[in-house]
Subunit: 488 residues, 2 copies
């Protein structure tokens, strides 16, 4: 119809890159993949051409429970109790689960998770978040600085919205890593902020090097006003874990350049082998008051990753440090417009930050479940690196953390030409061929950004071990076959 | 700290009206009220001045369960089963609850509500929403046109975002009723859209008159590009229910003026006495293809109101009609950035649109609970109108629907002067005095907008009947006392 105001809307013209959206869709929901799969099924039905696989394996989405990971029993017991408090009389539920549920319900309006909470989140849950941070970091945390959110994404969008301003060459520039998680580029495009790329150093395990940050900021100052620096640690899609020394250098750099730090730390429990997670908050406070009282920081966490993988509940929080009180009032305003984060997600977050303690009846089971998931992921991280690095033309950094590997793939020039003829990015062509031939769904590196002339894919390490082994074998064989096909 | 990019951010300078925010806060969460209450308690403690009330009664928030309304048993049983599927083996749960839970879980990735859903929402739930709309309206509904959301607010913000464009005198104007629900004005301020006010006709029960719409559009064309018309029906804060004739006229007007219609219909079950709810979709399709194939419409619904009042779950949906396929693709992009609406909220919405049927074991209890809540609200609506209209200086329209009354209060000139001296809106001064003296929390009309020189407050009809009677009596007595005080 001709009446649509949308033709002129900023979203319609936002320049959100379709490729990024492909990545978002493939990673996050089933749309594109369903489409691909339906096309494949259609081809099978209408042309009678049997596909050489029985199922599509989705190694594209960081969605643990969709890949068969079981929820933590204690968490779900408490959620059931909160949903239907009649169960508080049921002997089947352990006392600590009941105690948690009673405490959460008491903090809700009308003792029900069906009531709105305060926009910033339920107060006793914000207190629990603060205690969790204090225990993790060894430094004080103020519940007033905690905002509960609808997953970390919601909080990241909100904070970016608060920070983006100015016009023309004074427009806010936001530094994001390349490769990056497309939430950032999509949000920046939507807000009309200037995306400033800094490249992670693939040769030293995707490290974050200060000279590269300096280059990015200096170049950006020519055409915008760089004011925000985003870091994802442990890394998505690159799976690296930043060292404490690196984080110190980043903080020093942020202070010098007067940058607001956004630390996306949703994979903080997903750290494997000898690596250790250091929160930006902790390192900032270890550096003394010269830093801890001046550098502005927002740190994000979520219920969606780590050992729990509760993506569907959309729980999350942001802790803000050194935010001006006037700005905090604006932040509160901003979150008030959408009323409150979902209360079931808030309740689940409360369990994540306040899990069963050693003297409680659910502790043993909880620890067993948690440890099993994390040990499993560590094993699969190792396996992935080892198998990929045996394949000529695949180069894979150690998966130090998170749930992803982002190996570089060498593509023959003829394959690159073929893709370009088809108007596709070469690694997109590669991933589509892999999907067609093996039923394995990965995300092409071009959706995350990569150095020109290099090609990658992102694969999750979430499939169960036995299935992951098959996936790794199939990708390896495919790579050899693909390379051979285009090298003749 | 001096490093903050926020000083220049659009949010910081958005001009979101503090008064609106006061309304948002008092309506939605407990911030401001807690502050007031704490001040009162502090005064009591430090000055030894006992307040003349024992509790603060919050008649300011449309939050039914916070006011003691019990959740629908069936809904919460299914939520418990979805949260902790081990309960599917438990004899305590009726078969229809188990069947619903199994069906929802089957539609989830990994059969878990902990997995992400597609960004547009779980497909079988969108199908159920379509069937609900078809049954309600008698016209076809396409699940592809349904987007599940984090409460209705989220969908309203998203659609507004999609529609706002242009610069200067070409900037999109959005028509909203006065009085209005502050979500609209706050979002428009945030998006930099032009708020175009049309006044509801208080003298004929807050009716929506076409000449007034015409006046608003015509005047707006001088300085912006009015392209969107928002209607809240049943009305918030005004509690009216629009007639079918009125809706027809609005649709004709929208077609003539090429306006995109946004119909906020979250109170669709909250209709009392002889009034009947007519959805914009149904009326649009009754008007024939000249209208039904051209007028663009977005209609919103939520789990937060009606008989269920499940605000905390943040469930909701929008149905879009006559949206260009290219725009729908943009809408899908936009919702993808935040991944998906909370899955527990989606599940609860599924129960709202597909409640127990007459041949199912939970039907009788469900109907009894639903009928009791709605009959209760109808009784309280009547009571409110009757009692307020006995008070000289309070004029109250019939509460035909929703959960609010918005009576006009006559304030003596001396009270108006006194408020202005204190830098307050007169009805804000009135409400603060009421809070101080009687412990009753209302929202001043100035937060919603009202014709110049008139004063109102919004009160919910949610307190339990016996408590509501006390509230009505106390407000009535206060009004007489207040009027007398300033008339001497």
């Amino acid at each position: 119809p001709a009446t649509g105001p949308w033709q002129e809307s900023s979203v319609y013209r936002s320049g959100i890159n379709l490729n990024e959206i492909y990545v978002l869709l493939t990673m996050i929901n089933n749309c594109i993949i369903s489409v691909c799969y339906n096309v494949i099924v259609s081809v099978f039905i209408f042309q009678g051409a049997k596909k050489p696989f029985n199922e599509v394996i989705r190694a594209n989405i960081g969605d643990a429970q969709a890949m068969g990971q079981k929820p933590i029993t204690f968490f779900r017991q408490v959620m059931a109790l909160c949903s239907y408090p009649e169960l508080l009389e049921d002997d089947k539920f352990p006392d600590d689960a009941k105690q948690r549920a009673r405490r959460i319900l008491k903090a809700c309006g009308g003792s029900s998770i069906g009531a709105y909470s305060a926009s910033q989140g339920i107060e006793c849950i914000r207190q629990d978040v603060s205690r969790y941070i204090e225990k993790r970091d060894g430094f004080a945390s103020n519940p007033d600085n905690i905002y509960l959110s609808t997953g970390a994404s919601d909080a990241i969008v909100t904070i970016l919205k608060l920070l983006v301003a100015g016009e023309g060459s004074n427009r806010t520039g936001v530094l994001i890593s390349i490769p990056q998680y497309p939430l950032y580029s999509a949000t920046l495009a939507d807000l009309g902020a200037v995306q400033v790329n800094y490249y992670l150093n693939e040769d030293s395990c995707w490290s974050l090097d200060i000279p590269e940050l300096k280059r990015a900021v200096t170049e950006a100052r020519q055409h915008c006003n760089p004011r925000v620096l985003c870091i994802i640690n442990p890394g998505n899609p690159t799976g690296q874990v930043q060292s404490k020394e690196c984080i110190k250098n980043v903080i020093r750099f942020a202070k010098e350049e007067r940058l607001f730090l956004m630390a996306d730390e949703v994979y903080q429990d997903n750290v494997y082998r000898d690596n250790e997670f250091h929160s930006f908050k902790k390192v900032l406070f270890e550096m003394g008051s010269e830093f801890s009282s001046t550098v502005e920081l927002a740190s994000f966490h979520s219920t969606s990753k780590c050992y729990m993988g509760e993506c569907g509940f959309r729980g999350g929080y942001v802790e803000v440090i050194n935010l001006d009180p006037g700005v905090k009032a604006q932040l509160t305003k901003l979150v008030s417009v959408r009323l409150c984060a979902p209360v079931p997600g808030q309740a689940l977050l409360d369990l994540v930050v306040n899990p069963p303690q050693p003297d409680e009846p659910s502790h043993a089971t909880f620890m067993k479940e948690r440890t099993t998931v994390l040990a499993n992921l560590a094993e699969k991280a190792k396996l992935t690196e080892e198998i990929f690095n045996t394949v000529p033309g695949i180069k894979c950094n150690p998966v130090q953390g998170a749930m992803y590997t982002f190996p570089q793939i060498k593509l023959p020039q003829k394959a690159i030409n073929k893709a370009k003829e088809a108007g596709q990015e070469p690694d997109m062509y590669y991933c589509m061929r892999l999907l067609e031939e093996e039923g394995i769904c990965l995300v092409p590196g071009s959706g995350f950004g990569q150095r020109k002339g290099t090609f990658h894919f992102r694969m999750t390490i979430l499939p169960p071990t036995e299935k992951l082994k098959i996936v790794l074998k199939k990708i390896s064989d495919f790579h050899v076959r693909f390379t051979k096909e285009f090298s003749e």
